[in-house]
Symmetry: C2
Subunit: 241 residues, 2 copies
DNA sequence: CGCCTAGTTGAGGTAAGTCAATTCACGTGG
DNA sequence: CCACGTGAATTGACTTACCTCAACTAGGCG
């Protein structure tokens, strides 16, 4: 129970009762694994299933006609994959595992049925979706109004904060399987420039990203440089008792 | 009833029953008006109310410490204002009326209560929030991967498509109260460059934006140029019967 | 051993920014 | 009625952040 990252996440917002926990548990149907790099949700496909990420990293992205891609968000354990594709009847984006991943599959009908039976669960999921949207919004601000160095610093700090919430990161740093190409597609930069910016941050003594690990050199300096404000990720305990 | 834009919007997704309609109607408490330019939701404030926009335009934005701002989205009649600030207990963004606006106020407790009593309503709101998120995502792609001209063209087309859904736009064009400064803050450009890009699009015979009106000169050419795909805004009738 | 992917660095080009000046429409007060 | 101020749009000249192309290194693996 407690090692289920989704329950942990939703429980932070809605104090889940036994009835809701059992509905949630009944959703966890088929356990599946996917290998890195092979899409599990395709842009434009209809009637997709959704998933909850149990282990590994994934990313959701959109491809433009000219072949460019924009990574919208990375997903870490506890996050939904393709929730919107259920609600909108069709997927407006693709999802690709960054590493090998484990997921549990959720069918649209089951989820909608669960909402009808336990309205508090629907509220909890709405809350989780809002939190995801807040992160996309922050990402939007990143790309729209910060220069490359601030953008990278802010992004790495935010990722660290998210990982810390699910015990996968600390004030020292975190394991990060992203390549510079993935970072480039997420930040709207070229891979070459990502490399240069990482060097800048390293030489400025703020953060080092090497061999799959992000290590903070001077967290406070970096947070100040990036104008990083983690307050929107906090909350004051369950909104629904 | 039918002239209520929110009911129209949610009804497209969930076939609302009488009970749900009456709960929805009971939400529409206080009618308020705000003048253009004066914020109704402030970034960082806690326990805000949310609103449903009845008439006029608003925008949601974030301010950075250095004074830059990024407009995340524009809201048109039928849209929620500050829904996230209810769910997250505090507002991560500000909302400012672009024109004088009319809204109906919704209190957090009432909304959460309504969800508990009518789960289908919660699902409908979740759907609406997902649709909003899809638009933010498209905006993210715009800023991250399209050059200024494509970005502007895509943005104007998307705005037109949204307005057409609520009968405020057509294949010819639409009334648009945005200034070039607002466009700049939304698209991550400078106001000067917005001006130049609008001229480009005008001289290319695609679209004219003048005196508060966007008029398409060659819709198909523009849609092709911007790689505009409106499919994510469509859907195949109510998901919940 | 050789190939492939990820990362690194340099040189030169370009899209978009900044600064600055001008016009125009509008409102307001002398 | 006109002088004035203000906000929006427009355009030109110059600067810069980031891109593209290209070459090279280092590790992993058949």
């Amino acid at each position: 129970m407690e090692n289920n990252p989704l329950i942990h996440k939703l429980g932070a917002f809605v104090a889940l009762k036994d009835a809701e926990l059992s509905v949630l548990a009944s959703l966890h149907k088929r356990r599946r694994t996917f290998v890195a790099g092979r899409d599990l949700v395709h842009q434009g496909q209809s009637d997709q299933a959704a998933y909850i990420l149990a282990s590994g990293w994934a990313c959701s992205y959109k491809i433009l006609e000219d072949g460019q891609r924009q990574i919208v968000d990375f997903q870490i354990p506890g996050d939904f994959l393709g929730l919107r594709s259920i609600l909108l009847h069709m997927s407006d984006h693709s999802v690709e595992p960054v590493t090998d991943i484990e997921v549990t599959e959720i069918h649209a009908a089951d989820l909608l049925d669960a909402f009808a039976r336990t309205p508090r669960l629907a509220t909890a999921v709405l809350w989780a979706a809002s939190r995801d949207e807040a992160m996309v919004v922050e990402h939007l601000v990143d790309i729209g109004r910060r220069d490359a160095a601030q953008r990278m610093a802010h992004f790495l700090l935010e990722l660290g904060a998210r990982l810390t919430l699910v015990k996968l990161g600390s004030k020292q740093g975190y394991a990060c399987p992203l390549t510079q190409y993935l970072l480039a597609d997420a930040l709207g930069l070229s891979a070459v420039h990502v490399n240069r910016v990482l060097r800048q941050l390293r030489e400025a003594g703020m953060v080092t990203f090497r061999d799959g690990f992000v290590m903070y050199e001077d967290y406070d300096k970096m947070a100040k440089f990036a104008q990083f404000d983690p307050s929107y990720m906090d909350h004051q305990g369950p909104l629904l008792k």
